[in-house]
Symmetry: D2
């Protein structure tokens, strides 16, 4: 299998760091460039001591980000940049023939107007919105195979979309009134020197934030609307939890059937189970929990797996969906590598197990 040359623009943040880790050890990818303005000139080993045992860490140096130079070196370029900045690099890299896998929100939406509503500035490259593919492999595997611009999903969206889409597609839950309550580790805020994310401000603290209109709503609702075939508006509340990594999402859903008695609940349970198994039984990175097991972030941290469980509550007639993922792996860099594997024709799990 032919090795691909890959580069990472913005490799010094938390998702950049996980990308470095995954790509340094990927059997079919050769990491040829990493960029970071503040670390330019330093080796990987200097910036990330934990990678110092890898031979390449002593020779590969961070450079200033420079699209034309990267286009000469790399076949595939990962962008781990802030929203709005990623597009500046995507345009020239695509023009120069590179495949681009963008971890920012810049190409996740189909509508430039919705982008402007949620990100508060005009979209920098609206023409590309129709060409990008939303990089959720379990849903868009075929499109990813043919893509040259991947918009890798956000961490919260992944944790919400994976448990919800099969149920909406199967018509098992109502598209109205969906609630997603999510708990995220602090790495989700990025490696930014801000008081709010200091150890002493996060440790022994649990708090909601961004209530009621978080930016990720835009891509969540766009994807849910596509799955449901109708406009979907959801309630989404993120909370900050003192763990480094992990997202736990609890979904409150209205079944399209009555589940308030034992017979109804049992019948509906079979349909939910069938929908999930049909969607995910052969997916390498979705784990449907069985028996009494419930998701726990500690069982997925460091892996590209999303755990899913669900319960019917006959007292309330509701369906409770629950998922757990590593926000930096399945919620960011692992999923991006999964997309790379698909579009490059590598085994989908290469470098991810």
């Amino acid at each position: 299998m032919k090795t691909k040359k890959v580069a990472i623009v913005g490799a010094s943040g938390y998702s950049g760091e996980v990308l470095v880790q995954l790509l340094l050890n990927h059997p079919h990818a050769e990491l040829v460039a990493v960029t970071s303005r503040q670390n330019a000139g330093q080796t990987l080993a200097q910036v990330f001591p934990k990678f110092a045992s890898h031979p390449k860490s002593k020779t590969l140096r961070f450079t200033e980000p420079d699209a034309p130079a990267l286009a000469k070196l790399a076949d595939v370029v990962f962008l781990a940049l802030p929203h709005g900045v990623a597009a500046e690099y995507a345009v020239p890299l695509l023009a120069a023939g590179c495949t681009v896998i963008d971890l920012s929100a810049d190409f996740r939406l189909k509508s430039a107007a919705v982008y402007q509503e949620f990100y508060a500035h005009a979209h920098p490259a609206p023409d590309l919105l129709s060409k990008s593919v939303y990089g959720l492999p379990e849903i868009y595997r075929d499109e990813i195979k043919r893509a040259r611009l991947i918009a890798s999903p956000g961490c919260y969206p992944t944790s919400i979309l994976l448990p919800l889409i099969p149920l909406l597609k199967a018509g098992l839950v109502q598209p109205d009134g969906i609630i997603a309550d999510s708990l995220s580790g602090v790495s989700g805020a990025g490696r930014k020197a801000e008081l709010d994310y200091l150890f002493c401000e996060c440790n022994e603290s649990v708090r909601p934030y961004g209530v009621p209109k978080h930016r990720h709503l835009s891509e969540i609702e766009e994807q849910l609307s596509l799955a449901a075939g109708t406009n979907v508006t959801i309630q989404f509340t993120p909370h900050l939890i003192p763990v480094n990594r992990g997202i736990l999402t609890t979904l409150y859903l209205a079944p399209t059937e009555r589940v308030c008695d034992a017979a109804g609940a049992a019948q509906f349970a079979e349909k939910i189970s069938a929908a999930y198994h049909s969607a995910y039984a052969s997916e390498p990175f979705v784990r449907l929990l069985e028996g009494k097991a419930l998701p726990d972030t500690k069982n997925v941290v460091g892996t590209n797996v999303c755990e899913i469980a669900w319960r019917i509550d006959p007292r309330t007639g509701r369906l409770i969906g629950m998922s757990a993922e590593d926000n930096l792996v399945k919620g960011a860099s692992g999923q991006a590598v999964q997309s790379m594997n698909i579009l490059c024709g590598f085994p989908e799990t290469a470098g991810l197990v």
Copy 2:
């Protein structure tokens, strides 16, 4: 003001420990007895080194729990015992003339049948159910003044009832479809030697549990039904979070008015604000957050305060309520002392600020 003699049965657990701390330093209470089977014979200082600087810690020794002996020593007895065990002590202590403040679930429900449904054994003293007062001072202050048996509320119930009851009483939210999503620190599980609560099992872990029917639902729904004047069934999902102390609850509520446009939302916001201010503006232990502030457990841990904030979401037409408390103080021992203050005629904040 005449000092009351107080005793704690079951003083070696986490809520017992906080009771000891509060009562050792209470200006109008004299701690005369602490019981614990496993620590009988040891001084307070030996069992709780952190209290060793208090003069009484070197002389007050744990004893085996013995109701008649306690009744001779104490005016007020706190029971920090498991469900089902508390009633065994309450009966003889009440008969002997003591005032009893029970931190277990034994006397929180009015119905012995509901107790049996949720606690899986027959109620040990059903006659007392009609005599106990639910020790939520902000709601039952007058009844507490005259009570001789206080059923101090659970930690999750307190965090849910305080933000909800004023809204239900004012008819501002619908009693149907209420969702309470709660996040609790690990001390809520008690000081029990179980693998699930080991440091390495909880640290770097976030997980739901007890889905969908947690025992605390019984008292939550009974109290909400009383407030709403109709039967209330809610959805409640507890999660375990790696902090020692603190509960953060997020409530998803349906307003009884349309709030989907700016005018409707503004009008409704005034009503919510008025209901909360009417209920809590002069409460010493409820803090209504203003401006952009949202609850954070780190702002209430170690205090008897419950923080409350709310947001209207015009996109979904919902009201989001949020609360934060210390599960061991306002959610347990602090609230129990608050009840003691009320029924003994002490200033309500004595020993709590």
Copy 3:
């Protein structure tokens, strides 16, 4: 007892926050001013939501630091400022007749030359060095009573000096070869927006820093030299530990007697015990641990207590000393208030228990 008016310059950092907490609730002090450049204009409640239940929190506003204005308002001024900046305020405040309690390192040393060696700039007010009193009440209580400028000790120094000084004074340990290995919570680094102190950089991390020459060595060695009556040079290694608050220090000491056999060890143990009891038995804020107990930061956090324990190791002939304190209370703000109590003639424990 006449109330003193007190002000805090630099009240928005971690030790400033604890000073606010202690002084808001102090029975004999009235907090009349708090300064902070970045928070000027905001109320205490806005900056510190946790204090919002205190009536004064809604009316007391942060101001720009202005020494003449403060001197008009306050009898006692606490300086919780960076090294080098504190002196700028101390000079005019002293000149205007205020008592100054400085929590920085600016007045802890007697020698301006040593200050320059360790702090890398000339001392800004060398004349005051001879007038300041090192605010370690267990050692300098009499001097503190008469002081107008208190140099409140650093957090590491307190944890090292309290267990060591009585042994050196009694000639029980050799002044040569002392090793202090200290573990500090992250609040010791201050509330600074730096990458090194982000949650994700500190959580699940244990690391030494500042090896081998930490700034606090200067005041530690000056104080130990005074106690020993000879020049003392020690080895000191600080480590950063993922807790909010707390310092644990382990001291490796050479007894001046042979303790390699049981008889020698027993005899020496009695002398150590006698020295500690003579020094600290009646100290309200030093707790000598007995029996098998060893210090644990969780038993002192939130209190002004320093726990001390020790063991003789007959295998090596060494004495091991161990201490635990809250770096923000006994290691900073609590100790500063203790000094205020002494110099103002208040009960020494006022506002601290």
Copy 4:
């Protein structure tokens, strides 16, 4: 390369769990049996949800430990059992022709008398003591190649021996007066349901324990004595730190040369550097830190790497050595797999990078 069949006795503890993880994914080992009394009958996926994505996790079931049955299935058997129990299995397994890699302390010492002194019971199989090889590959690689019984080192010993042995062998530090101050994550205490290791007892706590005579001293001193060619007695203080995994050790050492002036220090620094490079420059799992870098457990957790750094302190004339490792990987299971790789003729890093 011929695959070896491997079994794990005692696979449900923390080091057992890491062994499972490493051996499930090892390119040359086939995990054929895992035992655990309390989990017998359950699959790997049921006991360890995090491994549920591995195909074998659904079929491999825990069994009761049974040496004859294991001997029929496996070529190599790992024992992850308590001290004293391991020997019961080692004897029959060796007799049946298996290679045994023991992670307990049972075969680490050469002297049954020292074993009895430190472990408080007679050695259960003293004849085997002369046949076992101490499984520290960086020191005993040749002996491991020919071994059939490996005594894999303890976690604290590994963190102390790796930085110390090259210096003692080179005669650069004095064998007298060595101090090792170690900080360990809570997983070092094992997966035991004890109050001391509950989340709320460890979180926000830092504490020494086992002072002054920890069991691991026996193997540390035996190995140091062999390296120094003389009897070595050291001072060792372990501390419990609220992280899941990781040991940080700080060593206080006396150089055999004067380093109190710049010239002496520089000369000695070259010798230390040379000794370490000679010992470890080509070791895949020892990382000598350069420049200003100091060890940090977060850079080694999840890896088989031990980081080492050192500083000369001309003020005190001492050498400070520092190391960091993952107590469950290089300090236990990873090192055991490293030994397996060596004795089976696999690449030493197989399954470990």
